[in-house]
């Protein structure tokens, strides 16, 4: 193994065969990435989350989260279902605003600006902070119109054709679709649709890309392509990814936040950040017992 980032044993899994397979696939698909590995340094902070709690009505879904997302790094958020990782992710581009009754306490700073400040325009926030969703959600329009949608609604200057091509090249989809840009996006395969959604996101030239379990609906080959793409994208963008897949977090991320759900005295579940550190530390020698239990597959 060429780079320490890819050598963690992800748990003494109970099914060694699966682990071995995953290991094989990793070696095969990501060979290209090893030489290009970025050292994990302390680049500028993009998001500084301080004591963030998220409420849906009276229910506190996530409590007291503090972490920092750094520029041009891939930050992964892992944890079992219902631990609040997606909720935290949706705070970064204020998508939680769309859920009636949702509110936040604490602070989310985006380049030292309070994302939830009174004079912050959520539409502008979402233009700078793009998002890729769990289920590929292309619009029922042509491939071209899907990518052109962002530049159009944002009234971006310049040649639309160039922007579309650039975005599709950036999302490693251009070669596959360049001859059928007018075809309906829904005719693409699931993996292609997800890369189209990534192209659509980078077409508006965002600063950050949020990914909410982007591969959970995809097969392993499509997943591998997206993971490769993430490495490339991290050179230009800051990426935050929520994933159920620990191997994926280990493969792609620089830093990892481990969340879990805790039951309080009244029997209510709250999501909670347990540990946030370099991915190598989280998967190598985690500080918290709960993190270790999770990544070794003893729970979750």
């Amino acid at each position: 193994m060429a780079h320490p980032r890819h050598t963690y044993t992800v748990g003494e899994m109970s099914e060694p065969k699966q682990t071995a397979e995953a290991e094989d696939r990793r070696g095969e698909v990501h060979l290209g990435n090893f030489e290009r590995s970025r050292s994990v340094s302390d680049t500028a902070a993009v998001f500084t989350v301080e004591d963030l709690s998220v409420f849906y009505g009276d229910y506190e879904a996530v409590r007291n989260t503090t972490l920092t997302v750094r520029e041009n790094q891939i930050t992964a958020m892992i944890g079992p279902s219902g631990c609040g990782k997606s909720t935290v992710l949706r705070c970064f581009n204020r998508m939680n605003d769309l859920i009636p009754g949702a509110r936040v306490a604490g602070k989310v700073l985006y380049h030292d600006e309070d994302l939830y400040g009174p004079d912050i325009d959520a539409v502008e926030v979402r233009r700078r902070i793009g998002m890729v969703f769990q289920k590929p959600n292309p619009f029922p329009k042509s491939i071209y119109d899907n990518v052109a949608y962002g530049p159009r609604v944002n009234k971006m200057k310049g040649s639309l054709d160039d922007m579309v091509e650039e975005a599709l090249v950036g999302a490693a989809l251009w070669e596959e679709v360049k001859d059928k840009l007018k075809a309906n996006a829904l005719s693409l395969s699931g993996g292609q649709q997800q890369r189209l959604c990534i192209a659509r996101t980078i077409a508006v030239k965002p600063d950050v890309i949020l990914m909410d379990e982007p591969c959970s609906a995809l097969d392993p080959i499509a997943t591998a392509k997206i993971e490769d793409l993430m490495h490339d994208l991290a050179e230009k963008y800051t990426i935050v990814i929520v994933t159920h897949n620990m191997q994926q977090a280990a493969r792609v991320s620089d830093r990892t936040a481990f969340f879990t759900a805790e039951v309080d005295r009244k029997g209510v579940r709250h999501g909670r950040l347990i540990e946030f550190d370099l991915t190598s530390t989280i998967f190598g020698k985690p500080n918290d017992r709960r993190t270790e239990d999770y990544i070794t597959g003893r729970f979750g």
Binding site: L98, G101, G130, Y149, G150, V153, N154, L186, V204
Partner: protein, 303 residues
């Protein structure tokens, strides 16, 4: 350690490997199927009887006189329904112009803007469904009292169109809401996440995706309005009009009223004429419903 035996997991069948045997005869199944079929046949037979009856009865007068001539009391062999046909077209076109924009915009508000946790929005929702069930004669009274008299619009085409718009508005709103709600939230999220505003999202994603559903529902609503006679009786649709409408305030008649008038006449020729006019009305209805089905099939989206 607990074994399955301890907690009493049911064991498998005793007669493993027994033969499966031929299909059994099940009388109840057959009976049930028969009842279902009979219920369907009742509806179809009635409709077919009606169709055959009116066509057979009106056959003698189903010719160009019907749409080229105006009504004539003294000479039924020369009477036609041109004024009623044109009146129906005018009233329907105006009704569509009024109720479609209002209904669709109201539906957008209810689906995309209204906070459903608030009681007043839920109350509006509930009452909208009640409105759809209000008898049409009540709308006629409303139109007469408020539009014709209070607003001084008189018994004119515009009064009829506004009244019919109110009548079908709840149906248009409900149909449009269904269509808007059928657009998955992932589309809204995808659009908003790209920095589109709410209105851009509605205008460029939600509406185009829901147009087929809205169009289908609206056409079906309009075809209900086209057959309405009750409210228009109150609103002064006259039974003898020897000219086509030429403005919003014209006097007018419509097909259902014309049919009603002819049916009441004692002379046999008028009865035949009424049957012929019913065929015309049914043909218009059929055409509108076919259009609705065509639109639905042509533009249906699969997510």
């Amino acid at each position: 350690m607990t074994t399955p035996a301890d907690v009493g997991i049911p064991s498998g069948r005793e007669d493993r490997g027994g033969r499966l045997g031929p299909t059994r005869h099940r009388p109840l199944e057959v009976l049930f199927h028969g009842v279902l079929l009979a219920s369907l046949v009742i509806g179809v037979v009635f409709l077919a009887t009606l169709l055959i009856y009116v066509i057979a009865r009106g056959w003698a007068r189903l010719d160009s006189r019907l749409w080229e001539n105006f009504n004539s009391i003294r000479r039924p062999e020369r009477a036609g329904a041109q004024a009623a046909i044109f009146g129906t077209i005018w009233v329907m076109a105006l009704t569509a112009l009024i109720c479609l924009p209002v209904g669709i915009l109201a539906a957008i508000h209810m689906e995309e803007y209204a906070d459903k946790t608030k009681w007043w929005n839920r109350a509006i929702e509930l009452n909208l469904q009640n409105l759809a069930a209000v008898p049409s004669i009540v709308y006629g009274i409303l139109g007469l009292g408020i539009l014709a008299r209070q607003f001084g619009l008189g018994t004119s085409i515009i009064t009829a169109a506004i009244t019919l718009s109110l009548l079908v508005l709840p149906v248009v709103v409900v149909a449009s809401r269904e269509a808007i709600r059928a657009v998955p939230n992932t589309i809204r999220d995808g659009s908003l996440a790209l920095g589109a505003t709410k209105w851009q999202t509605i205008w460029k994603q939600i509406l185009p995706a829901s147009i087929p559903g809205i169009a289908t529902g609206s056409i079906l609503a309009l075809s209900r309005a086209i057959g309405e006679a009750a409210p228009l009786l109150l609103l002064g649709a006259v039974t003898f009009v020897a000219f086509n409408p030429d403005s919003l305030t014209s006097a007018y008649t419509v097909l259902p009223i014309q049919i009603y008038d002819w049916i009441r006449q004692s002379r046999e020729e008028f009865q035949v004429l009424a049957a012929a006019a019913i065929v015309i009305l049914l043909a218009i209805l059929l055409a509108m419903n076919s259009l609705a089905i065509y639109i639905r099939n042509r533009y249906q989206k699969r997510w």
